[in-house]
């Protein structure tokens, strides 16, 4: 994580716990006639498991795969407003070190298990609302309680620019945005929807809530480091100081997020006034 903080342009962490929660909630909501032990598949035509004893990671990996598909759809297919990865990096990374993005998708999966009914159809406005809700985030955080530094919405399917603006205007009020980014939404529209659903939304947000996973990572690290547990295994191949440096990089990054989260808007903003006219 420290190496990525140094060298990567943009990082999209996906937490296993969050994936597990999403899969469980979808599984619970589905039809009772599901065969016991069969796993949900994430992608239409993907790995199908018949009978019992399915592979438990398929569903979770399927969601992560959907994330990548939705992210690159703008580069692969035509659309009214193309967005590729370069644009994501430019728009969502206001400060060089703060490039950990929170992702969320709706619908999270696009097909149903064999013999089961398809996931409940959603209206377009519902997918927008879901994508900002706590349940669909791919990290176990609630973005509504922290400040958004930037937000990108990548829509696929029959979504027009007016649908996107209408929903953004509606949902923006419930979000805390940084003071310098009042029009802080990047919108992408791709014509081709994912298989099995008429439209989908992917939200990538640079949100200060990301400090929670970073803090949690630091505290788990410190629990082991304080007692020098397992350190000798790493000492064979690297310097222990590097480990400590990495920990402090992450701790600083988390503090930076906390600081920006709590920063009040400035009283005056410097501007240029023209001296003489004509």
């Amino acid at each position: 994580c420290a190496a990525l903080a140094e060298h990567a342009d943009c990082v999209m962490p996906v937490e296993n716990q969050a994936l597990m929660d999403i899969v469980t909630s979808i599984y619970e909501k589905s039809d009772v006639n599901t065969r016991r032990g069969s796993a949900l598949t994430g992608v239409d035509g993907g790995v199908e498991v018949s009978g019992h004893g399915g592979r438990p990671w398929d569903a979770m990996n399927g969601i992560a795969a959907n994330l990548l598909l939705n992210l690159t759809a703008g580069a692969r297919f035509d659309g009214a407003l193309n967005v590729d990865i370069n644009e994501v990096t430019t728009n969502l990374v206001p400060f060089p070190k703060m490039h950990f993005l929170l992702s969320s998708m709706s619908p999270a999966t696009v097909s149903a298990d064999k013999g089961k009914a398809a996931p409940a159809p959603r209206t377009m406005d519902q997918i927008f609302t879901e994508v900002f809700g706590r349940d669909r985030q791919l990290a176990s955080v609630d973005p509504r309680r922290s400040t958004y530094l930037a937000c990108a919405l990548m829509m696929r399917g029959a979504v027009t620019v007016s649908d996107a603006s209408r929903n953004v205007d509606r949902l923006r009020k419930g979000l805390r945005m940084a003071h310098w980014v009042s029009d802080g939404f990047k919108v992408g529209l791709c014509d081709r929807a994912p298989t099995g659903t008429p439209y989908s939304a992917l939200c990538l947000a640079n949100n200060c809530a990301m400090r929670k996973p970073l803090d949690a990572m630091t505290s788990r690290f410190q629990k082991l480091r304080r007692r020098n547990l397992y350190v000798h295994h790493y000492g064979e191949f690297m310097e222990i100081d590097d480990m400590d440096a990495a920990a402090s990089t992450i701790a600083e990054l988390a503090e930076e997020y906390a600081r920006v989260d709590a920063a009040p808007p400035p009283e005056t903003v410097p501007s240029i006034r023209p001296i003489g006219v004509l």
């Binding site: 035509d78 644009e87 206001p94 940084a178 903003v269 023209p274 004509l278």
Partner: protein, 510 residues
Amino acid sequence: RRGTSPRTGQRPSQGRCFPSMPGSVVTVQLGQCGNQVGTELFSTLAREAVACSGSTRDEILDAFFRTPNARRDRAGSSKFPDDFPEASTPTARAVLIDMEPKVVQSSVRIAKKSGRWRFDTTRTLAFQAGSGNNWARGYNTYGGQVRETACELIRKEVEQCDFFGGFLLLQSMAGGTGAGLGAYVAQALRDEHPHAPLLNHCVWPYESGEVIVQSYNTLLTASALLDCSDGVIVAQNDSLHKTCVKQLRLPRPTFTDMNSVAAKQLAGVLLPSANREVGENGGLIRMGDDKNGGGPGMMDTKTKNARNGRKTHGLHDVVTDVCCFPAARLLSLRQLPVLPQKSVEFETFTWPGLLKRTRQMLLSGTTLEEGLDWGLEPTGGSTEKRDGKTPGRRNAYTKCFASSLFLRGGNSDLVDASAVGDPCLYPPWVPKPCSVNWSNSKFDGKEMSVTLLSNCQTPCPPIGRMLSRAYQMKSAGAYKHQYAEHGVGDDEFAEAFARVEDVLATYRAL
């Protein structure tokens, strides 16, 4: 005799002369938005060409398309065949540039599908990676790489024109390619073709946000273009959207709908028309009077003479009529009537009615026909204070440097345009503030239509809001590193802020 001698236009700051002939326009489409708008524009022009006949159709095709197998001009017959066999499908005089290939390819496909016109695939330039919405990358990094090839393509297109009339650049202001590379190409064209008119049509992004760094990109584009361009038409996405919703009754407009509205507004200006002498108040000329017009008058021999000595309007005239002052080059487009296709035959219009509404649209500062504030009136002449009281509400109207009116439809040459030509709307030191152009050909199937190109304060509020957002972002230091990586640092930002503030102050001082 008036009306027959060619009028030489002069650019105010440099005194260059350019004969007043229509000429062919070379369009350069930059970025996704520019290419999409360009496709709509050429579709509209091709449709109008098909709807017209004879010499008007020839003029449209000559100005915007080239046809390889045009027959020699015989007396009375059109230069172009009525149907367009594959070998002689008119080819748009356009160069398509984008930093990723999909949009250019789909534009070429759409043109080919129409069967009536096509884009030349040898006049396209597309890279793979895209500009990433980064103005600095489009301007500095891609600009240098692309300059030679782009200028070469454009030069080849210019050489294909029998008489070259100027450049039309279509771009957006919020993105990376259209905005950044577009600004670079505009400056490069100004360097390579210093005497050619350069008109930019720029799409202003939604205020609610399409791109997070749009304030930066818009600021930098505005600053670069206001320096080198002859006229910058600002088409706001919010206005186009409202036009689609309120007037075309489309509940969920797509970009295609909005582009088609923008393209029609632009076509209303660019299609052939003839300039008309007007009296001082914009009205018709009375017999026997030299420059002083009386009030609205009847058609008389003088006007007939003016009409017969027709001067066809070209891109050069378009920019010199409205941009009288180097610091004031922001233009707005208004067009009416705008209504759903199926309602056209049920509505009746009159020229006076249309012109009155145009005037009120101008005073209200909107580009929509609905929700006009009929209470707004300009104060008379240059006196601002009367009775020692501040005018208050009366001064809330939108002020204008100059404007060009384009009247299309039957009897448009006989229309009294004093509603829009009224000197009260303009500063007293502008000699001929309202230029009236007419064409008897119908536009867009409508019996009469009015397009107004004005140099007025309409773009000022969005520019002011953009500046305040840009200052906020800059003071927080957001995205600085993205732009600094490609060579746009604090100095460049300061220069851009200063230039745009200057222009804004010029308009606000009206």
